[in-house]
Symmetry: C2
């Protein structure tokens, strides 16, 4: 496979070690609302649209309950944010791709407030061509909408891009947009599940990805 | 497969929803000591002996550092303990097995202090034949030692028992003791990994296990 024109990256769990903090933030939110949801089920839902996450975990609820759950999650996550860290060699991966003439776009539907914290950690503004956020779409992954926005910002066709993500929702969103995808294990979702969802390859993390750039034929 | 004489249960992540709290307790401990370990790697190490967990995650360290890490983990875990919950139908599973004449033994190497909290949540003293703890062995899973102690307490031979656990370390420990094993997904480790480690079957959780008792031929 020759180098794509653009690589579209999920951020949460892919570039930044945030998934387990999101699990914790939702776990605390549900307990505060008197609902016990096993943590592994929350984990499996991370990365998809918050509305769909809530429906799959706690069933149908009224608007007020959903609003309170989302607010509690946001507050808890903000409290946990000082523990966020960039994943190993995430920055190097973006820099290497950019140096190789590949357009790097961050494709997330995180709210701008969360995104600001993530971008500060990634600290690679000069190599990031564009970034999406929650305002760009009505519904998040696994809907392909955010991938389509990222493709537009990259200025490429679906077959000219590769999406990189850590969750089944990322892989499904990419597939639905006609974009092939690579998985990473850093979100805590097993490689087999990512492959079953349609990932072409799975890397342990960005560091593993960097090591294999030569093997992929993506570097000069 | 006919009903075994005894079923040996791991507790953490199998009967009680504790794995993600252990991940959090270690994550905070490492950060307090100035070491960033990605959460997914901590998660994959949960369930094995703390000494081996530390070596695999942070390499060789002196005794003092190891002691501080373990103490910080214990303190953090104690703080998180009010958020521990029994997993769905865990108690019913133990009761159904006991009612079917199957000896139930809890096979853990948790320290007694942690175990007391777990047993209070499980609240099934009358159906639990015996329980192991950290004092019973020098080294925890994946060493088979704790499984062997559990077999002795159950008064059965390896081929007369089934071990139930949520981590690759559980499955490996059971295999090394000559005991077949079933996996559960409640610890957040994928079924494929549990099967690859040697699990004969994988259930989503205790509730799924209860539903399949008839199909297994384990109920009268």
């Amino acid at each position: 496979m020759s180098a794509p024109k653009a690589v579209l990256f999920d951020i949460d769990g892919t570039l930044v070690d945030s998934n387990y903090l999101h699990v914790d933030a939702w776990h605390q939110a549900f307990q505060a609302l008197g609902v016990d949801v096993p943590a592994w089920r929350i984990h499996r839902s991370i990365g998809q649209d918050a509305g769909e996450l809530l429906t799959s975990l706690v069933g149908e609820r009224d608007e007020e309950w959903i609003g309170r759950a989302k607010d509690l999650h946001s507050e808890n996550y903000k409290t946990l944010a000082p523990r966020l860290r960039l994943l190993p060699e995430a920055r190097q991966l973006l820099e290497r791709l950019d140096a190789g003439g590949i357009t790097v776009v961050l494709a997330t539907s995180a709210p701008q407030e969360e995104l600001d914290i993530l971008l500060e950690l990634i600290d690679s503004d000069t190599v990031i061509h564009a970034t999406t956020n929650a305002d760009d779409v009505d519904v998040a992954k696994p809907s392909p909408d955010i991938v389509q926005v990222a493709l537009e910002r990259a200025g490429v066709e679906p077959h000219e891009a590769v999406f990189v993500g850590d969750s089944e929702w990322d892989i499904t969103a990419a597939s639905s947009a006609g974009v092939r995808s690579f998985g990473v294990l850093t979100g805590g979702i097993a490689g087999d599940l990512l492959m079953q969802a349609g990932a072409e390859r799975v890397f342990a993390d960005a560091s593993d990805f960097v090591e294999r750039l030569g093997e992929l034929g993506w570097t000069a």
